[in-house]
């Protein structure tokens, strides 16, 4: 599921993607902190023991030369090290990666910890991104940094944008910003969209426990009851992505959507399935007007839960 075995012995890697930032990272690194939005934000990823990667981005006008930004940042770190009475050293002009179409500067600093960093400016998406790969002062990070930094992308190429974190992987339409997100243990909920449209990707863990005393349809009715209010809908049981699942199609009633009379129909389409190999319940739902609801099939096809869902897509494409 988006992971690949590295050719040499060492860590396994997989794709990580959030707000357009895309990287290839070791599989045991997980998202621990996220702040901000597409314009400006911050990400932190940690392994089992410590913080391994920090990413900061800002969109907008370019603020001077990259080297000057690095100068300012290093000066701040040097001051902090002086206060803490820790020895501090910097190595500039490292050639760790050169992502195509971007201006980059790579450097290393060593203080209480070691960091290999890359500052990048993309003229296409006008984004300045600062990546910090962290480790112990004596740790060898260069090869890892090369892999991570050279895989760096800061904008999507097509009409869809990839989102990949924890074991979740899906594509959302590029113009649909992230509206809300909830990354709780056992429940991941990502909502995209804006005025009059909404796209949701939900992953619920412990499916076996949740479905021990009720059917999938009963659980779905309870869990997803709120968006179904004021809607007339039809649910059919069928195989979704190779698993037992439900497909739902609903419409807002005429009273709450009078524009329906003029052909402006608001349609809710949703799929819910039980992924047994991963013991998870997955929901993909699109609530939009008219033609936008036709996006549902393509969005659902790109929402992966396990290997079985991928083979199901491949099978469908072959057919």
């Amino acid at each position: 599921m988006g992971s690949e075995q590295s050719s040499t012995r060492g860590p396994r890697y997989r794709t990580f993607a959030w707000q357009g930032v895309q990287l290839t990272l070791p599989t045991d690194w997980n998202l621990t902190v996220t702040r901000g939005d597409r314009k400006a934000g911050y990400l932190r990823l940690s392994d089992e023991y410590r913080t391994r990667l920090e990413v900061r981005w800002q969109q907008g006008k370019r603020q001077g030369l990259l080297s000057r930004t690095v100068d300012g940042y290093i000066e701040k770190l040097r001051k902090d090290a002086r206060k803490e009475k820790v020895s501090f050293s910097v190595q500039r002009g490292l050639k760790l990666a050169s992502p195509p179409g971007k201006e980059v500067e790579c450097y290393r600093w060593t203080g209480r910890q070691q960091a290999l960093a890359m500052l990048s400016w993309c003229p296409h998406c006008r984004r300045t991104t600062h990546l910090h790969l962290l480790g112990e002062p004596e740790e060898s990070l260069k090869n890892l940094a090369r892999t991570v930094f050279s895989s760096f992308r800061d904008h999507c190429e097509g009409a869809d944008e990839l989102w990949a974190f924890y074991d979740m992987r899906f594509r959302a339409p590029a113009g649909w910003p992230l509206k809300r997100h909830s990354l709780k243990a056992g429940l991941i909920r990502m909502s995209f969209g804006g005025r009059g449209r909404s796209l949701e990707f939900i992953r619920v863990s412990l499916a076996g426990t949740l479905l021990a005393a009720k059917s999938l349809a009963e659980w779905f009715g309870e869990f997803y009851g709120k968006p179904l209010k004021r809607k007339s809908f039809r649910i059919s049981e069928q195989t979704v992505k190779g698993h037992d699942g439900l497909m739902l199609r609903g419409e807002t009633s005429l009273f709450f959507n009078p524009l329906k009379v003029f052909g402006r129909r608001r349609v809710l389409r949703a799929a819910c399935w039980h992924c047994e190999p991963k013991n998870r319940l997955m929901i993909c739902a699109l609530d939009a007007f008219g033609r936008q609801s036709e996006l549902f099939e393509s969005v659902l096809a790109e929402f992966d839960c396990c290997e079985r869902s991928l083979t199901d897509v491949a099978f469908r494409e072959k057919k």
């Binding site: 045991d28 997980n30 621990t32 089992e48 023991y49 410590r50 924890y166 074991d167 243990a185 056992g186 863990s205 412990l206 076996g208 426990t209 190999p277 991963k278 013991n279 998870r280």
Partner: protein, 129 residues
């Protein structure tokens, strides 16, 4: 007691210390299976004068019950003072097919509650030793 005396200092743990701590169940706490997959914890009430009086007046037991679900029962049975929080989270992740971080977060939150209620004690090994 604060504000009349010194406020007792609660040691703050970093992530590594918290995950390497070994939880032990208080020896006075009893675990009872509830017949299904969960468990019931019999936890002694605090021996304060008020509690003793309330128990005597209303003829209450000196123990109160806490019902645990399937996951709670699974975790509490692994608190033997040998396994660390990290190892327990790993077992939980394996048994219920959870992600590592998911399991660590939920286990840590569960133990935080149990420690606050004095049901579990965390043994923290000194980093220097």
């Amino acid at each position: 007691m604060w504000p009349f005396g010194k406020k007792s200092k609660v040691p703050k743990l970093d992530r590594r210390q918290a995950l390497d701590a070994r939880p032990v169940l208080d020896s006075r706490v009893r675990i009872e299976r509830d017949g299904q997959t969960g468990a019931i914890l019999q936890v002694p009430r605090r021996a304060t004068a008020t509690n003793r009086l309330v128990c005597r007046v209303f003829k209450l037991s000196s123990y109160h019950q806490i019902t645990l679900d399937e996951l709670g029962a699974f975790v509490i049975e692994l608190c033997d003072g040998e396994r660390t929080v990290r190892q327990i989270a790993k077992r939980l992740a394996g048994a219920y097919k959870l992600g590592r971080r998911e399991a660590e977060l939920s286990t840590a939150k569960f133990f935080r509650k149990l420690v606050r209620r004095s049901i579990v004690v965390l043994i923290i090994e000194d980093a220097a030793s």
